[in-house]
Symmetry: D2
C-alpha cells in the first residue's frame, strides 16, 4: 500500500497510551470523567498552563469541542467571527449553526485574523436589533492553512477582543504543531493567558481520540459540564480520555510528537524550496502546500497518497502534504528522493 500524506489521523496512537490502557484495564474506576486518570491528566495540563483559574474538560473530537464551547458561551442572538478557511465554516456540516448561531466569514490571505480584519465586521453590525451581535472570535493555531500566530499577533488580537467585549476561542486541533513550529515564540502558558478558551488536540497528535478543552475565563466555566453531557460528549468510560492525556502530558510527550511531525514536513519543504518550488502558504508546521506540475503530481501519486488541494492553472496545482507524530524517515526520504530526481 502507498504511504499516505493525506492527513494526521491515519494511524492509531502512541504506544505509551496502549501500554497504559493495558495496565489499567481491569481496575474499577468511577465513570463520566471522575476517574483518577482524568483527574491526573487535568492536573498535568493545568500545571503546564500555570493558570490556577483554568479548568480542563476532556471530549472526543474537534467538531464536538467547537460546538460545545460555542453554544455554551453565546446567547441566542450572538454570533461567531471566523477566518474564511475556518474548520467550523467549511468542514463541520453546519454544526455551529445547528446550535443556533451564525458564523460570519472573513476573507484573509493566510487563514489568520487580525484586529483590522474584525473592525469592519463590527462596524457593519450596528443595526440593533436587526442584526446578529458578534461576540466570539474563533481562530485556529496552527490554522487550516498551516500558518501560526506569533506571540505578538495573539497579544494584539487578545487585547482587541477584550477591549471590544469579544471572547477569544482558539481551536487547537493542531496546537502542538503550532507551538513547536520552528518560528513560533508562543507558549502554552501564553495561550492560557491570552484566550478565553482553547483546546489541546489529541486526535491529530498521538491520541486515539480526545481534545482537552481549557477554559481560562472563570465566568465561562459555570455549569459547562451540563453542556458536555447534553451534547452527548460525556463518555461513561472517561478513563479512555484521561489515560491518553495523562500519557501525552508526561515529560512533554505531546510537544515532542508535534515537533517531530513539523520536522518531517520541513525536510520536504526545504528540499522543494531549494529547487524553486512555490507554496500556497508559507508554513512551518506539519502541513505544506507546494505548487507543482501535473506531471510531478502524477509521478508522486504512483508512490504516495495526498490531496490535490487547489488547481493553480492548466499545468499545475497545489498539493497538501501532512506529516504526523508517526511519520518515519523512510517515506520522507523516499519522497525527497523523487523530488530531487524530478526537479
Amino acid at each position: 500500500m502507498k504511504f499516505s500524506f493525506k492527513n494526521d489521523y491515519s494511524e492509531g496512537c502512541h504506544p505509551n497510551i496502549l501500554q497504559a490502557l493495558l495496565q489499567s484495564n481491569f481496575e474499577q474506576q468511577a465513570g463520566y470523567g471522575e476517574d483518577e486518570y482524568s483527574l491526573q491528566a487535568k492536573k498535568l495540563i493545568k500545571e503546564k498552563i500555570k493558570n490556577p483559574d483554568s479548568e480542563v474538560y476532556l471530549v472526543s473530537g474537534g467538531t464536538q469541542a467547537n460546538l460545545i464551547v460555542i453554544s455554551s458561551i453565546l446567547r441566542p442572538y450572538q454570533c461567531v467571527i471566523s477566518a474564511a478557511p475556518g474548520h467550523i465554516l467549511n468542514n463541520e456540516t453546519g454544526a455551529i449553526e445547528a446550535t443556533g448561531h451564525k458564523v460570519l466569514s472573513i476573507d484573509t490571505a493566510d487563514g489568520k485574523l487580525r484586529p483590522s480584519d474584525i473592525i469592519p465586521v463590527l462596524e457593519s453590525h450596528g443595526n440593533i436589533p436587526h442584526q446578529v451581535m458578534p461576540k466570539l472570535v474563533y481562530i485556529s493555531n496552527s490554522t487550516e492553512l498551516g500558518t501560526i500566530y506569533l506571540a505578538k499577533e495573539l497579544e494584539e488580537l487578545s487585547n482587541f477582543c477584550r477591549d471590544k467585549g469579544l471572547y477569544l476561542f482558539m481551536d487547537g486541533a493542531r496546537l502542538g504543531h503550532g507551538l513547536t513550529s520552528e518560528i513560533s515564540d508562543l507558549t502554552l502558558e501564553k495561550v492560557g493567558e491570552l484566550t478565553d478558551v482553547f483546546y489541546l488536540g489529541g486526535t491529530k497528535n498521538g491520541a486515539l481520540i480526545g481534545e482537552a478543552i481549557v477554559i481560562n475565563n472563570k465566568a465561562l466555566q459555570q455549569d459547562f459540564a451540563f453542556n458536555i453531557k447534553q451534547k452527548g460528549a460525556l463518555l461513561a468510560k472517561g478513563r479512555l480520555l484521561g489515560i491518553q492525556f495523562m500519557e501525552l502530558m508526561k515529560d512533554d510527550l505531546y510537544f515532542d510528537l508535534a515537533k517531530h511531525a513539523n520536522i518531517q514536513a520541513m525536510k520536504i519543504k526545504n528540499v522543494m524550496k531549494e529547487r524553486g518550488v512555490q507554496f500556497l502558504s508559507d508554513t512551518y508546521t506539519n502541513q505544506i502546500f507546494p505548487i507543482i506540475s501535473n506531471e510531478l503530481i502524477e509521478i508522486l501519486s504512483e508512490h504516495f497518497e495526498f490531496y490535490v488541494w487547489k488547481k493553480i492553472d492548466e499545468r499545475s496545482s497545489a498539493i497538501r502534504l501532512i506529516t504526523s507524530w508517526n511519520t518515519g524517515d523512510e517515506p520522507v526520504d523516499r519522497f525527497i528522493e523523487i523530488i530531487k530526481k524530478e526537479l
Copy 2:
C-alpha cells in the same frame, strides 16, 4: 415634520381595510385562521395564481415567513443559498441560523441569483458528509437593491433548481412592486408555476401586518400549519390577516397600490437621470439609490428623511429613497423641484 422616504411601512393601511375591520368587528368568527375572511382571502389568492395545487397560509411578517418556511422545508444538515444582500443574511438577527440552518452567501452585483452564481457553491460542497448540503435557493423579488427578475431569468433559475434538486423560495415582501415594475414581464401566475414557495408581502404594500405564504409544491404543504403554530405565528384572531388580504386581493388593489409606489419612485428617478445622476443599481421599482453630492444630501435632508446608504467617495454617497402605496404627489413634486433647482 419632514416627509419620510425612509421606508414603505411608515403609514397605517389602505382605508378599505379599516372599513372592513369596522364592518366585521362585532361578528363572532372562528379563531386561528378558520374564519370566513381568511378562507375568502385564500380563495382569492389561489384564483389569481391559477394553480389549484397551491395552498395559502397567512402570517404576520417577513422574518416570520422566512424562518417558518425555511425551517419547515430543510432537514437539519441542509442549508440555504442567498445573494449577499439577502434580507435573511443581514437583517433578521440570525433568525434562520436560530432554527439550525446555515445560510451561504453569494456575492452578486445586482442582488439577483443566476445558475452560474450557484454552480460554484454546489461544486465546493461535495465533501460528504463533512459539509452542509445546499438544498434551498432563497431569492427576493423585488430584491433588497430594488432590482427584479424577468420571466426568462426566473425560468432559467427554476429549471436549474429542479434539475439540481434544489427548492426555490421567493421572498415577496415587495412582490407587488416587482411584478408591477414597468420593465417586468413576470406574472403572479408564473411565479406560482416557477417557485416551490413564495409570499405576497402585505406589510409593505397597504396592510397593517401580513404576508401570504403560497406553497406550490404539494410535498411541502404537509403539516405546514404545525410549523406556523410552533413558531408563535398563528394568530388567535386570524380574521385580522384574512380581512386585510381579502381587501387587498379585491379588484387587484394589491397591484394597483404597488404600481403607484413604483410610479412615484420613477418620477424622481427619471428627473435625476435626465440630469446625469448615477445610481447604485438600475431599478424600476419603489426603491432608488441615486449617488449624489454631500451638499445635495444636506439640502435634501432639510426637507426629507431618507437613508444615506453607502459612501461612494469623499464627496458623494448613494442615498436610498423608498416610495409607498401612500406616497402622494406633493412630496414627490417638492423633491423633484429641489432636484431641478440644484442640478
Copy 3:
C-alpha cells in the same frame, strides 16, 4: 348563527382601538416599535406597575411571548417547571422545546403551583450534570382552569423562587380577568414586584392582537429586543401594537373589559350553583366548567356553541363556557333562562 361561548377571541377589538387606528392611519411613524404610540403605551403600562425598573415589550400573541421570554432567559441546559395544564405544555405545539428547553410537568388539582409542588422536582434533579437544571417557574393567572393566585400565594411562590435561584414568569394571557376577579386581592403593582417577567394579554381582552411583556428583573432586560427580532416577532408597523395598548391602558379600559367578562360568567355560574350544579374547578373569572347531564348539553347545544371539556361519567360531562369583554346581556340571559327551565 348560534352565539358562541367557545372562547374569548371570537370578536374583533374594542371600538376605541379602531377609532384610534382610523385617526392615526395616515401619519408617518417610525417603524419597529419606535413609533409614538408604542412609546406612549409602554409609558402608561410602566406607570400602572409603578416599578421604574420594569421594561415593556409589545409582541403579537401568547405562544410568541412565551417562547421569546423563556428562550431568552434560559441557558441551553436549563428547563422550565409548569403545572400540568400549562398552555406551554399542551397547546403550543412544542414551541418551548423547539427552542431547546425541556418543560417539566407537575400535576396539581387546580392548575396552580405552590412551593410544595416544586420542591420534589428540585430534589429529583440533583444528579449533576446528567439532568436538566430547573431554572424558571411558569405560571398563568388566571390559569388554564380559570383559577387565580391570591396575593399571599404569589408572595410565597415568589419568595420561594428567589430563595432557590429560580425565575418566576407569569403568563398573563388572561391577567386582566385574574386581577379583576371578585375574589382577587392581587394588583398589577404587586405582580410587577413579585415576578421576574409577566405579560398583559391583549388578544383575549379587547385587542386584535398583542401581549405586553413586562420584564421587572433588570438583568433579564439586556438585549431582549434581539430575541424579539430573531423569533420573527418585531412588527415593522409596531404602531399597530402601540395604538391598541395605548387605548386599553387609558382610564383602565383594560381592567373594565376584563371585569365585565368575569361578571357575565359569574351570572351563569351563580344560577347553576344555586341549582346544585357541580364545577370542575371553582373559578371566579371568565371561564367556568359546569358538570351537566348529556341531555342538558344537547339542549344547550341547540342554542349555543361551547366545548364539551371532559367526560365525567356515562351520563354527564364538564363543559367549558368562556365569556369576553364583548359578551352582552342578551346571550347570557338566554342561557340562564334555559338553565332555569331545565334544572
Copy 4:
C-alpha cells in the same frame, strides 16, 4: 478498594480489543469510518441481523446515539413517546429537547411500553395544529429497570406502531443483556425486523466506547451520516470504533459477555429470593433491585459499592446491583456469603 456493583462501565474493555488495537496500531487507515475495521464490523453486524436492507453506523455513546437518531428522524413539530424511566427523559440533560423535540412521558410499572399505554397519548394529541405530533416510540431493552421485551410483546408493539404511522426505536445500551436473559425469546434478527432503528451498546458490554446504530427502515438511512457529523460524533480515527465492534461480533463474544453478566446477577438474585427478599422489579438481566433492611445495607456497604435506589419505608430501601462482562466469581461469592450469613 471495595468492589463496585454500581454500574457496568467501571472497567476497561475486553482484552481481545486491546490486543487488536495493538496489532493494528501502526497501519495507515482511512479516516472517518472508512477504515477496513469499521467496514468489517458493519459487515459482521449486518450478517447477524440477516436484514440486507439494514445499515450500520458506529458512534461513541448512548446519549449521542439517542440524540442523533431522534433528531434525524423527526420533523420539527414531531415528538417522542417514552416510558417514564426512559434514559432520554431522566439522564441526558435534556439532550433530545436541545435538538428541538418534546419527549412525552408515560407512567408504566415495569419500564416497558405496550399499545395500551400509547393509545391514550395519541387520543389526547389530536388538536391539530396546536399540539406536538407523536411520531416516534422510544423503548429500551433491557429497560432502565432491568426488565425485557418478550418476542410477542415487541411484535405487538411493532405492529401497533406501523399501524399508527409511528417509528419504533430501541435503545440497546444493554441489548446484549436483554437478548441473553434466561427468559428472553427475542433474537437480534427479530429486533432487526421489528424496529425501525435500534442500537447495540458496546460501552456497557465489553467496549471502551461505542454503540452500533442499526437502521432497518431504508427511508431513514438517507443522509444519516450528515447528522452524525453535524452532532460532532464522527470520529477521525473511526478505526477505534471499528476494531471494537469487529472483536465483539467475532464468535458471538458480545453475547457471551452479556450472558456472563446476567448469570452473575442471577446468582445473587436467586440466593436473595430463596431467603424471601422482595425486588422492585422482577428482572432477569444484569440489574437487580432487591429491597433490604437498612442494617443489611450498612453491612454490605462495608464491603461493596452500590446505589441505594429508592427508599421503601423507614426500615428498608431498594438497592441497585449491576454486574458486568467482567464481574468475576470472587466478589459475587463474597456478596452471597454475606447474604447467607445475614438472612
